[in-house]
């Protein structure tokens, strides 16, 4: 078992090295000299230019630059923003809780609706409910979520006036100490009920938008996994023993059907990050996705480079975690692999 985990962890090392190489190479390929990009169009004396080049290590051979870059990354240095002169890691960590809060709420929304909806469709297989849900599910995972977000803003925020258009909270009206970085929890900790409700109002639409594709995938996955399980011998046995249908479905079938669903939820993290870029841009949600897009607009290449590196690292680690967890739950995997 220990060997399986070691092997799985060792396999991520080349992926990390290649990831470092890609982010390093990508920035070299950007047209124009990084120093000139940094000093802008004002122009600069040749001596200052040489000084900056030396400062950034650009006068070194390329392989040396790459090794330096790796060395920095391994020491937790993800570069310094051209625009704010702040460490990229500091900026990322400051914004990440907003993305995490949005992502977790989106996933919660998707799982809480998707699992029961999918399970019910499997039980009522072939009914109009089943067919409607499957049609909705195809629509859900085909959804251009940037449009879906605008549509919801148009109807719910502008039309009905139910939710705010952008941001995480009404900054003018509410203030509380950021303890966890999660608005909902911090608001509760500060004991301001109104602030909590306001944060919730801000969160609802973005979470629905970001959760739409995972919801469709989870509902579909739960349905097909449930259909398989319902044909298993142990479910038939449970029925034959005369257990009430609710118990057979809820306890015996659903619990087993959920194993692949949980894996799918874990693997949705990548989709979620990509979705977060779009969702945060639409709702002006101050998270890492919006920051990444803005850093492109500002030609802030170190932020872009560090941001992609950090997001990918996170996803590799989550996937590793899912695999390890799966190995613990399911011994067949670790012995087979």
């Amino acid at each position: 078992m220990f060997k399986y985990f070691l092997k799985r962890i060792a396999l991520t090392v080349p992926t990390f090295v290649a990831l470092m190489f890609i982010t390093f190479a990508a920035i070299r390929l950007v047209p124009g000299d990084p120093v000139e990009v940094r000093v802008g169009e004002r122009g600069i004396s040749p001596e200052r230019l040489a000084y900056f080049r030396h400062e950034l290590g650009l006068d070194q051979p390329v392989w040396k630059q790459f090794l330096d870059y790796m060395w920095q990354l391994l020491h937790g240095d993800f570069g310094t923003s051209f625009v704010t002169n702040q460490k990229v890691l500091t900026e990322f960590l400051a914004l990440f809780p907003a993305t995490l809060e949005l992502g977790l709420c989106a996933m919660l929304f998707a799982a809480l609706i998707g699992v029961p909806a999918g399970a019910l469709a499997a039980v009522k297989r072939g009914s109009w409910y089943d067919q409607a849900l499957m049609a909705l599910s195809v629509t859900g995972y085909s959804m251009p979520i940037f449009w879906w977000g605008l549509l919801l803003i148009m109807v719910v925020s502008e039309g009905w006036g139910l939710t705010p258009v952008s941001g995480r909270i009404d900054l003018i009206r509410y203030y509380f100490e950021p303890v966890t970085g999660f608005m909902l929890i911090d608001a509760l900790l500060s004991d301001q009920k109104a602030a909590f409700l306001d944060a919730l109002h801000h969160l609802v639409l973005p979470a629905i938008v970001l959760g739409t594709i995972p919801l469709a995938v989870i509902a579909r996955m739960t349905r097909s996994s449930m259909l398989e399980v319902l044909n298993e011998d142990y479910v038939r046995t449970a029925r034959a023993k005369g257990l009430p249908p609710s118990q057979v479905i809820g306890v015996h079938a659903l619990r087993n059907a959920l194993v692949p669903v949980v894996t799918v939820i874990g693997l949705q993290v990548g989709t979620l990050m990509a979705g977060a870029v779009l969702t945060e841009t639409i709702f002006s949600w101050p998270g890492v996705g919006k920051w990444l897009i803005e850093s492109i607009g500002r030609r802030d290449y170190p932020s872009l480079q560090g941001g992609v590196m950090l997001i990918s690292t996170l996803i590799i680690l989550v996937n590793l975690g899912v695999d390890v967890l799966y190995g613990i739950i399911n011994p067949r995997i670790r012995h087979g692999g």
């Binding site: 080349p14 992926t15 290649a18 990831l19 890609i22 982010t23 990508a26 920035i27 390929l29 950007v30 047209p31 049609a135 195809v138 629509t139 995972y141 085909s142 959804m143 251009p144 940037f146 449009w147 879906w148 605008l150 549509l151 803003i153 148009m154 502008e158 097909s224 259909l227 398989e228 990548g270 989709t271 990050m273 990509a274 979705g275 870029v277 779009l278 841009t281 990444l292 897009i293 492109i296 872009l304 992609v308 997001i311 990918s312 996803i315 590799i316 996937n319």
Partner: protein, 302 residues
């Protein structure tokens, strides 16, 4: 010998015909798949005939009718059935020409990834060892970066344009094809008919292309169909972020981004391009699901 040469093609034709017939009768049963096929066919037709069907050229500006309402809304007229955009361009014409752009992106991404996927995937499965390890790790890496984020990085580096959108989305979608080809080829390579072909002295290229590949095609065709729709979606997202096709090209995502400022005053400007994307992607996905059910009984949704 002579009899063989005469008989074989006929038998092959007959077999192909009957399997095509079997495929069609299986496909026809799937209502969603048939609806998808019909809508996709209609969109393809519109895209091909865009110059004939569209009432106006996509970039012609009508200064007297900026942001004209669609025909069903107050103040709308039959002159511009779906209204005009912020620069007075006919929405219907731009949407029809947009179908051309989106389908082109989808098909271009799919064909390049399909061919590269087959070549790289077969090479990995056939040569194993170093080639396989390098290919597999590289694909793992691409899949570790979220699709859209990687595409954004590529476009940020290369510069935003239609061509670079295609390059970026192709890089993102390639691993799906490679993994699929590699996986099914590895599976086929252990089967007896392949061993028999090897023993009969079939060369490696012919073995991979004409013995193994045809038996990997079913899942690959399904992947290709679904690949077109996800490419269209990714390209539209890039366009929406201002990193894809550049104005004045009538690309649906770019059109959506351009009309964001009119979300209050002219909601249809935001609604229509998104609806076009959704309808196209849904119908291609329905078609793909139908293909999967018909081609591969094992994967058939119960």
């Amino acid at each position: 010998m002579a009899v063989d040469a005469l008989d074989l093609p006929v038998a092959a034709d007959a077999a192909a015909l009957s399997s095509a017939r079997a495929f069609w009768s299986a496909f026809r049963e799937n209502r969603g798949g048939v609806i998808g096929l019909v809508v996709v066919a209609a969109i393809v037709l519109l895209a091909i005939l865009a110059d004939v069907v569209a009432p106006y050229p996509p970039n012609e500006q009508f200064r007297d009718a900026v942001r004209a309402a669609p025909v069903w809304a107050e103040g709308g007229s039959w002159r511009f059935i779906l209204g005009t955009d912020g620069l007075g361009r006919d929405m219907l014409s731009r949407l029809i020409h947009g179908a051309r752009v989106s389908l082109f992106i989808g098909l271009a991404v799919m064909s390049v990834s399909f061919v590269l996927g087959v070549v790289i995937g077969l090479a990995a499965a056939f040569f194993r060892d170093v080639v396989d390890v390098v290919v597999s790790r590289l694909m793992d890496l691409i899949m570790a970066v979220p699709g859209l984020v990687l595409a954004i990085l590529v476009v940020a580096v290369l510069g935003p344009s239609l061509a670079n959108t295609i390059v970026a989305v192709t890089i993102v979608s390639l691993p799906h094809y490679v993994r699929l080809v590699r996986g099914s080829a590895l599976n086929e390579l252990t089967k007896e008919y392949v061993i028999a072909a090897k023993v009969a002295g079939v060369g490696p290229v012919r073995l991979m292309l004409s013995t193994v590949l045809p038996n990997c095609l079913a899942p690959l065709i399904v992947q290709a169909a679904l690949g077109v729709s996800s490419a269209i979606l990714d390209a539209a997202a890039l366009g929406f972020l201002g990193l894809g096709a550049q104005p004045p090209l009538a690309e649906w995502g770019t059109m959506l981004a351009d009309s964001r400022e009119f979300i209050r005053s002219n909601p249809w400007l935001v609604t229509l391009p998104g609806l076009a994307i959704l309808i196209t992607v849904v119908s291609i996905n329905l078609l793909g699901d139908g293909l999967r059910d018909a081609l591969d009984p094992k994967m058939r949704r119960s």
